[in-house]
């Protein structure tokens, strides 16, 4: 351990001198800036002018350094003076306390604190404010101090500071902080209300605040510093389990959830909050929807959401639903999200509509089937995305892959078999998961008649003995694609990913010159997937593109995309959203032509896929393009893209593609497989 010797008086004297020196340097720099130049020979004038500017710049740069050094010496002097007192639990003298609060408020005291000193400061701050934080001005001051510390302290010091502060301030007090902020922000409403308030509302605080104008943003300026302090304290493991659990299990679940709005929290703490703020909430709600339906009103928190009343803000505020807040917090800690969504629930029983109790062990099933969310399930979807992206990241261990695949199937099962049309956010997250991690599996299973119902009704299965991917039947793929493409943004994102995947497969599959013995399973997989996609989008019944629903337009657009994305060396550089987006806009006439030219919809698939395969072979130099040249289908030495053509040129392309003997000879094997 390094030896530290400090004479506070020396440091304060030094600070004073450095501060004076900084001021004097500033005076010299200003004098140099205003110096008048006499008449001089041109060369000398330029040299002198440049030299003065350079010297002034050096002085300008050093004046703040000296001032900063002066601040450091003063703060370190105070630390030297108070460290022992704080450690021993003695109160500070009046001057020391004034400096302590003032310099904590501007962040400079923590900026120059060692981790040990930071912990002392956190502890003392907790003592200072735990008895008076319900006075609005003290709470605002404390929020400023926490915020300044979070801005200026180094990470190690901040961890120690946050942990010590939360422990010292007290779990119960911390949970009351959101209620104090609520009372300040909503004082007009609370003070003007004649009906009794929900019991957690702090009417006495509202009365003290009166009708003053709140300058601080209740969420970003007041709530967030406490949330971040708690997050740092839990995530760094500086908080005792007792304190963590006391906060997580506080009966005021609204207040606990508010404290989760910002920051990354520890896994243990989040899992406890998941139990109280999500699982138990859903169970309680089911009780009121079931047995107690019609017998009374379900208890609810006061509708005073933080940030929604404050007149200087956007009135968006923190969500009213605590489940959303907890799920959003889970999304910021993938490990916690994984455990929350995959660890079987114990002793959880929900009530159905007729009051019958059912045990639920799957967290996904509980959330999907019984959870009521105000956000379309987006927070749930975010937590799922965080969990599955972490499970299925490249290079993860097989058991992690299996866990991730199981989670995907759990969500997929509810999306296609569940009875909810208000959880689009979850479908969007599923679409993103499928596009990011499961396109190969979907193509593989589309091409094989996969067995179903390995596990008694839940969609799909995994078989870690054989491979580490999901397996779905064709019917399940169709149902999944139907749900996914039924959502505008999710459908487009998914199909863009699928188009890239398929185009890349075709580009790779057409690398080698075709032979009778070649492996064309890639073509078979693409053809099989496309057919299921057409079925899912109900495109088979579409005869006029102008009558197409958004879902059908998307699916037809997918084929155009595959054709346009088949790029041979390099594939990169294609705008991800261009093709799919274009279908609704500029590409629509082309797709319309496509539909007209192919009066049966499945021809869309065949022609599109054929064109993609032909393009792949042509760009790899395996097809003699003389026939295409005669039909004006070659531009700059390359075959034009089928999807860019319409009308007569498109007809010429199809004529060449379907009748040219060289094309037929080359693509025969692949096409056989694609239409198998």
């Amino acid at each position: 351990m390094a030896r530290v010797v400090v004479n506070p008086l020396d440091l304060r004297r030094g600070a004073s001198r450095l501060r004076d020196a900084s001021k004097e340097l500033t005076v010299v720099a200003r004098a140099l800036a205003g110096v008048g130049l006499p008449e001089m020979p041109a060369g000398v004038a330029a040299h002198v002018e440049g030299g003065i500017a350079s010297a002034r710049s050096l002085l300008d740069g050093n004046a703040p350094q000296l001032a900063d050094g002066s601040v450091e010496l003063e703060r370190r002097a105070l630390w030297a003076e108070i460290a022992d007192r704080l450690d021993a639990g003695y109160p500070l003298s009046g001057t020391q306390l004034k400096e302590f609060v003032s310099w904590m408020k501007d962040g400079t005291l923590l900026r120059f604190a060692t981790p040990h000193e930071a912990a002392s400061a956190g502890r003392y701050l907790g003592v200072l404010y735990r008895g008076n934080f319900k006075h609005p001005d003290r709470l605002i001051e404390l929020a400023q101090i926490l915020r300044a510390g979070e801005t200026w302290a180094d990470p190690a010091a901040l961890r120690e500071f946050s942990g010590a502060f939360v422990e010292s301030f007290g779990a119960q007090n911390l949970v009351e902080v959101p209620r104090v902020i609520q009372a300040i922000e909503w004082s007009h409403v609370i003070n003007g209300s004649f009906s009794p308030q929900e019991r957690h509302v702090l009417a006495v605080v509202a009365r003290e605040w009166g009708d003053r104008d709140l300058e601080q943003d209740p969420v970003d300026d007041l709530l967030a510093p406490f949330a971040v302090a708690l997050a740092n304290a839990t995530y760094s493991g500086r908080l005792t389990r007792t304190t963590e659990d006391a906060i997580a299990h506080d009966e005021d679940t609204w207040a606990t959830a508010q404290l989760l709005t910002k920051g990354t929290f520890s896994t243990h703490f989040l899992l406890e909050c998941f139990q109280t703020g999500v699982v138990q909430k859903i169970v309680e709600h089911s009780r009121w929807e079931g047995t107690a339906a019609g017998l009374g009103e379900e208890p609810h928190d006061a509708p005073y959401s933080l940030g929604r009343f404050w007149e200087h803000g956007d009135h968006e505020g923190v969500p009213y639903d605590t489940k959303q807040i907890v799920l959003a917090a889970l999304a910021r800690n993938p490990e916690a999200a994984q455990l929350a969504l995959t660890t079987p629930l114990a002793g959880v029983e929900v009530f159905d509509r007729v009051g019958q109790q059912h045990a639920v062990t799957s967290p996904v099933r509980l959330l999907y089937d019984h959870g009521r969310f105000d956000d379309d399930g987006r927070a749930f979807g975010s937590a799922y995305t965080a969990a599955v992206d972490s499970y299925l990241a490249p290079g993860t261990a097989p058991h992690e892959l299996d866990a991730g695949n199981k989670l995907t199937l759990a969500v997929l099962d509810r999306v296609i078999h569940g009875d909810r049309d208000d959880l689009g956010g979850v479908t969007d997250a599923l679409a993103s998961d499928l596009a990011s991690h499961h396109l190969a599996a979907l193509h593989e299973d589309a091409a094989t008649n996969a067995a179903t119902d390995h596990d008694g009704g839940i969609a799909g299965y995994i078989d870690p003995e054989v491979d580490h991917r999901i397996h779905l039947s064709r019917a399940e793929i169709v149902d999944t694609l139907s749900k996914v493409t039924g959502r505008d943004d999710a459908g487009r994102a998914f199909l863009t990913g699928a188009a890239h995947y398929q185009a890349d497969s075709i580009a790779e599959g057409t690398t080698a010159a075709p032979t009778f013995e070649g492996d064309y399973s890639w073509a078979h997989r693409a053809g099989a997937f496309d057919k299921l996609l057409m079925e899912a989008g109900d495109v088979n019944r579409l005869h006029d593109f102008h009558d197409a629903q958004e879902q059908q337009r998307m699916v037809v657009g997918f084929m155009n995309d595959v054709v346009s994305l088949v790029k041979v060396n390099p594939v990169a550089g294609v705008a991800i959203h261009h093709g799919i987006d274009a279908i609704g806009d500029s590409m629509a006439p082309s797709a319309d032509e496509l539909m007209k030219d192919n009066d049966r919809a499945h021809a869309v698939v065949q022609n599109g896929l054929t064109a993609a395969i032909v393009k792949g072979y042509a760009d790899h130099g395996h097809i003699d393009l003389s026939g295409a040249e005669q039909r004006h289908l070659v531009r700059g030495g390359s075959l034009v893209s089928y999807n860019e053509l319409d009308g007569i040129p498109r007809g010429r392309f199809e004529d060449w593609m379907n009748n040219d003997p060289d094309v037929s000879r080359i693509v025969h094997e692949a096409l056989q497989d694609s239409s198998r």
Binding site: A2, R3, V4, V5, V6, N7, D10, L11, R13, G14, R17, L18, A21, E24, L25, V28, A31, L32, V35, G36, L37, P38, E39, M40, P41, A42, V44, H47, V48, G51, I52, S54, A55, L58, L59, G61, N62, Q65, L66, G69, E72, L73, R76, F112, T114
Partner: protein
């Protein structure tokens, strides 16, 4: 008939240049005093430990920077003094030549 007596002006205000040089020397002296004062303060403090080492390293950088600024000002002052002398000499030479040319012109007229 001889033409008018003329030579190009020698640009420069030697007195002004010397005054500026003196001003810059004054500023350089102030900067040197500040540097010395800071260095003395930092060196003499009872302040040991890792933070003190880092602080002194920064203070040393600052002192070097101030020395450099002061040196630059002194060099400029020297340049200005030399340039002032050169200008002064050139102006005197011009005056001498003009007088000589005026004399010659006078003689030619006579």
């Amino acid at each position: 008939m001889p033409g008018p007596v003329w030579l190009p002006e020698v640009v420069g205000d030697p007195a002004g240049m010397r005054a500026l040089a003196s001003t810059l020397r004054g500023h350089a002296a102030t900067v040197a005093w500040i540097e010395s004062n800071c260095t003395g303060t930092v060196t003499s403090m009872t302040f040991e430990g890792p933070a003190a080492t880092r602080f002194r390293a920064r203070a040393e950088d600052c002192a070097k920077s101030l020395t450099s600024a002061g040196d630059e000002l002194l060099q400029l002052a020297g340049t200005l003094d030399r340039a002032a002398s050169d200008v002064e000499a050139a102006q005197a030479e011009r005056a001498r030549k003009l007088a000589e040319m005026a004399r010659e012109a006078e003689q030619a007229r006579a």
